[in-house]
């Protein structure tokens, strides 16, 4: 009896399997490796399944490969083994590495042209697209998720400290007054931050028109040198060190560990990526506001624009033309105003095209959700200078680790700001020289 069931099951399988594989063969598979899990993972999966449902020629398969560093690494290891995906999501820190890997990458403009997909680089927000575009105006990767740092405020905490909950400090001195009051009212963590290097050095520089590295922050060549140990940075980090010592600023960790402390109500002010919005909105049991990243009013011309973080999609080399045609279709789909606007509204990432921004405005999203347009206005408010276009450095992930290490010594009170920044610059420059040599 049981044997017969097995045999008939096997018979059915042998009959069905070829039909199934035959069906699969008719569709060209496009592999996408990304670094999103949790809520963002669900959203990217939704985009992929919507794309698959919208047409019958291509089947996009999305795979999560860990965090940003791990996904990049998985892509590199796969390339070395000849098993690379068609599309790889790489964070902005890996941009220089990907740009230097000429034989491993197929530039997006080329992919689009070869498969005759309509593609207009000027449709993308200039400060976003600029990050991924060569000096001669060719777009190498497709911007996907881009964010910029903003200030989150726990309004209930302000109220508890006897402050007007609608206060939106524009400058760091104003922030300091608030921090002092918060501290006096018993707050254990008036201010914390995520991504300290990105927000308090890289964006600080762009916002105040001070270079992070020479050669237009590395855009003009790999022979760039770090220069983030100037007066502005020493002053800012020195101020934060003073706050750390007086209990006004509390360090949470190198990545976005501070998020949990802000969302739980422990920390009152929080500098974090605009993409933290979805999480704060979902979890915070208090009233909150989002406002511009504060600036130093004594710096002439400040504030300029902030720069982006996040990731872009790179097409890897070594695949068939038919597969590239599918990849091109998928990228076009991702850039469409509807998909981008939805993504922007769901996550707090920036809309990457002007059309998506306009659509979100038309839908009345910004009116219903005050604070969600802070990021894009802050990014696009002014024309970027050579210091605020972005940063493109090799070995940047490791340079950031060095900065994290040195800043930790500052928050602990072991080193003063200037000495730590000097040390970070000299250690980081060695890594830049190694990258220059390796990519020569």
């Amino acid at each position: 009896m049981r044997l017969r069931t097995v045999i008939s099951a096997a018979a059915v399988l042998t009959a069905v399997l070829p039909a199934m594989t035959g069906m699969a063969a008719a569709q060209t598979e496009i592999q996408v490796w990304h670094a999103f899990s949790g809520r963002l993972g669900e959203l990217i999966d939704k985009q992929i399944s919507d794309f698959n449902a919208s047409q019958g020629d291509y089947k996009v398969v999305g795979t999560n490969k860990g965090n940003y560093s791990e996904a990049l690494n998985a892509g590199i290891a796969a390339f070395r083994a000849g098993e690379q995906p068609h599309i790889l999501q790489v964070f902005e820190v890996g941009t220089a590495t990907m740009m230097a890997a000429k034989g491993a990458v197929k530039p997006v403009y080329e992919v689009m042209a070869e498969s005759q997909e309509p593609f207009d680089p000027s449709a993308y927000l200039a400060p976003v697209a600029g990050y991924y575009t060569t000096a001669d105006g060719q777009m190498l990767s497709l911007p996907y998720n881009s964010s910029t740092p903003v200030l989150y405020i726990n309004k209930d905490a302000l109220k508890a400290a006897g402050l007007d909950p609608e206060t939106k400090p524009a400058t760091w001195p104003e922030v300091e007054e608030i921090l002092v009051k918060l501290k006096e009212s018993g707050s254990a963590c008036p201010l914390t931050t995520a991504w300290q290097s990105w927000i308090h050095l890289e964006n600080l520089g762009a916002y105040h028109d001070a270079p992070f590295a020479t050669k237009s922050n590395g855009f003009e060549g790999t022979d760039t040198e770090l220069v983030f140990n100037g007066d502005l940075q020493a002053k800012h980090i020195g101020k934060m060190a003073e706050w750390a010592k007086n209990g006004l600023f509390s360090y949470s960790g190198r990545r976005n560990e501070g998020g949990a402390r802000f969302r739980s109500g422990e920390c009152a002010l929080f500098t974090e990526s605009s993409a933290g919005y979805a999480g704060v909105k979902a979890e915070a049991a208090f009233e909150f506001a989002v406002t511009n990243l504060p600036y130093w009013p004594d710096v002439e011309g400040a504030p300029l624009n902030t720069i982006i973080g996040g990731a872009s999609l790179w097409v890897m080399s070594g695949h068939e033309a038919e597969e590239y045609a599918g990849a091109a279709k998928f990228l076009t789909y991702l850039s469409s105003a509807e998909v981008q606007a939805q993504w922007h509204q769901d996550t707090g990432y920036l809309p990457i095209t002007t059309a998506a921004y306009d659509l979100t405005k038309e839908q009345g999203f910004y009116n219903e959700n005050p604070g969600t347009d802070v990021a894009i206005l802050q990014m696009t408010g002014k024309a970027p200078t050579a210091n605020s276009k972005g940063i493109r450095l090799g070995n940047f992930d490791q340079v950031r680790t060095i900065i994290d290490e040195e800043l930790e010594a500052v928050w602990q009170g072991q080193k003063d700001a200037k000495a730590a920044l000097d040390e970070a610059v000299s250690r980081g420059n060695e890594l830049l020289r190694r990258f220059e040599q390796a990519s020569r």
């Binding site: 690494n73 590199i76 230097a100 000429k102 680790t401 930790e408 010594a409 928050w411 890594l431 390796a438």
Partner: protein, 293 residues
């Protein structure tokens, strides 16, 4: 006179040795050779090109005082992980050896943590002791104990040592227990009859008779602390704060697999290989003399 086995067939001994030799060549000599070769190259991450740079990877490393500092960090870490995990395991083994009722349950529970992957062990400890989310960290703060492994290097080091040692206690426990059970009861009873107290019996009979086990575990634990703990470091501190928990093997991992600096990573693994080789030779030459088999 020495007893010698002779083979009639001249090929047979080689054939019998072949599987072991093959395993050693494929899993040790070949990768070690690769590492040596890679350490002289400066490749780009994608393996598209590589420049032969002679010893400049080594020069770069040895000129970096943070790398030299990492030797010290590794020494401290290894010393304490080995000491704590072996001492605790020995204590548990001696106690479990004396339990008569329900000893199976004790032993099973004590062996359990060995099945936990290092990265998972790291995350578990983090859930308890991370300042912002840790349950125990919360109570420690409430009791007024200063605890900040995110910024305080010694606190961070204590935390990773505890996690790494905890993970290894089970393994050591197993070997110590087996060692204890191999000691003839009559010997201990005889000493007891002669009036030797508990501590005296342990110090003069049990511990010396355990010395082969202890020596074996010493070697194994040092190798463990050197090589197998990067998962714990990676999940708990990522080498920080500053570089206070950046041990050598973690730096190999982070430079190679996070930073994609494969030349430097290979050079570091060659250095590490030499260090562990030297350590093992020292152990066998000088410490093994004191072992009674």
């Amino acid at each position: 006179m020495e007893k010698r086995v002779t083979f009639d067939n001249r090929l047979l001994p080689y054939l019998l040795l072949a599987p072991q030799l093959l395993v050693t060549i494929v899993f040790f000599f070949w990768p070690a050779g690769q590492a040596l070769y890679q350490s002289l190259l400066l490749p780009d991450p994608f393996g598209l090109s590589a420049r032969f740079v002679w010893f400049s990877n080594f020069e770069y490393l040895l000129g970096d005082r943070y790398y030299l500092q990492s030797f010290m960090t590794t020494a401290v870490f290894t010393f304490f992980v080995t000491l704590v995990s072996m001492a605790v395991a020995l204590l548990f083994a001696v106690m479990a050896d004396q339990v008569i009722k329900g000893s199976g349950a004790y032993k099973t529970l004590l062996i359990w943590p060995y099945a936990v992957a290092p990265a998972v062990a790291g995350v578990m400890w983090l859930f308890m002791f991370q300042p912002s989310i840790g349950v125990l960290a919360y109570h420690m703060r409430a009791m007024g104990i200063p605890w900040d492994p995110v910024l305080n290097g010694s606190h961070a080091m204590t935390l990773v040592i505890a996690a790494a040692a905890w993970k290894q206690v089970s393994y050591n426990f197993l070997f110590f227990l087996a060692g204890l059970q191999a000691i003839p009861k009559s010997l201990i009873e005889a000493a007891a009859i002669d009036g030797a107290g508990r501590w005296h019996r342990f110090r003069t009979i049990i511990f010396p008779l355990l010395s082969p086990t202890t020596f074996f575990l010493l070697v194994v634990n040092i190798v463990y602390a050197f090589f197998e703990t990067f998962g714990i470091i990676h999940t708990m501190t990522a080498g920080g704060p500053g570089q206070s928990t950046t041990i050598l093997v973690y730096k190999v991992f982070s430079d190679g697999f996070v930073g994609q600096d494969l030349g430097s990573s290979a050079a570091q693994s060659v250095i590490l290989m030499v260090v562990v080789g030297v350590l093992t030779v020292i152990q066998f030459r000088y410490i093994e003399r004191r072992v009674h088999y």
